[in-house]
Amino acid sequence: MADQVQMLQSKIEDESKVLQTLQREMQKYVEGRQKLIEQSHENEMVKKELDLLEPEAKVYKLIASVLVQQTLQESKENVSKRLDFIGKEFKKVEDLIKENTNKQIAKKTSIQKMQEQLYQIVQAYQQSLNK
């Protein structure tokens, strides 16, 4: 009985550690997702403003403390590409979050089962003592 209990306890400990790692991972994903949302908003706003400009408007891009002139066309394309990229990254993160959630649920269920097993073993042992 003592072996079983020890085995279960150490298994529960291991699974709990995995669960903690999953939770830390999840936090990173959620933070990344939040950043992507902010970037997407900013780029959307720039896109809207660029769409309002006339074709001869002087657009400059900040490249490491230097303002470099760009054509309006280039800038619009650049912002569109960025938005596409952000969209793809966002989808990736959402899939990762889904996967992580499912893994967490599975872990929690297995930990719960093992805890129930443990409880039953201890119960049975106590009952056998009482007889």
Partner: protein, 160 residues
């Protein structure tokens, strides 16, 4: 839609224990605090854009070739001349800058102020909804306190 959600939360309120009610109350209080902080950040952004508009107007009135001091660093200024008071550089975001005249710059500020106003209104709405929910919570908590007081009174009367 969100009002319905609030109602759905309110229906089982009397089934919750006082500790749970207190917990929810704390949570909502924290949320309201954070949202109110965001609201004050909005106000700061608002005043910055309004200030920019005023400066743009002043630029319009400044004559060309006006003498001025240009900041090179935080404590080093260099004398200069205002070549083109009409032309301003606007930071659009994500590293893009556009050269525009003061009129277009002012319109840009107006558009941003409009966006800010819309977001502020949404935020104020959400804050008010949460405050209403907190009022409901407080009413429910008061009910419980009165119930407990009534029971205590009854017990005292029975002892007599």
């Amino acid at each position: 839609m969100s009002q319905q959600q609030e109602e759905q939360k309110a229906i089982p309120l009397d089934k919750l224990t006082p500790q749970q009610l207190l917990q929810i109350k704390k949570q909502i209080e924290e949320e309201v605090q954070q949202l109110t902080q965001s609201l004050s950040q909005f106000r700061i952004a608002n005043s910055k854009y309004e200030e920019s508009k005023i400066i743009l107007k002043k630029l319009d009135q400044t004559p060309k070739d006006n003498d001025l001091l240009v900041p090179i660093t935080a404590s080093l200024y260099v004398p200069g001349r205002l070549i083109n008071p009409q032309s301003v550089m606007i930071d659009y975001g994500t590293g893009y800058f556009v050269e525009r005249n003061t009129e277009q710059g002012s319109q840009f500020c107006d558009r941003k102020l409009q966006l800010l106003k819309e977001s502020q209104d949404k935020l104020t709405n959400i804050i008010n909804q949460k405050k209403q929910f907190m009022d409901k919570l407080n009413i429910e908590l008061q009910k419980r306190v009165m119930q407990v007081q009534q029971i205590q009174q009854q017990m005292q009367q029975q002892k007599k």
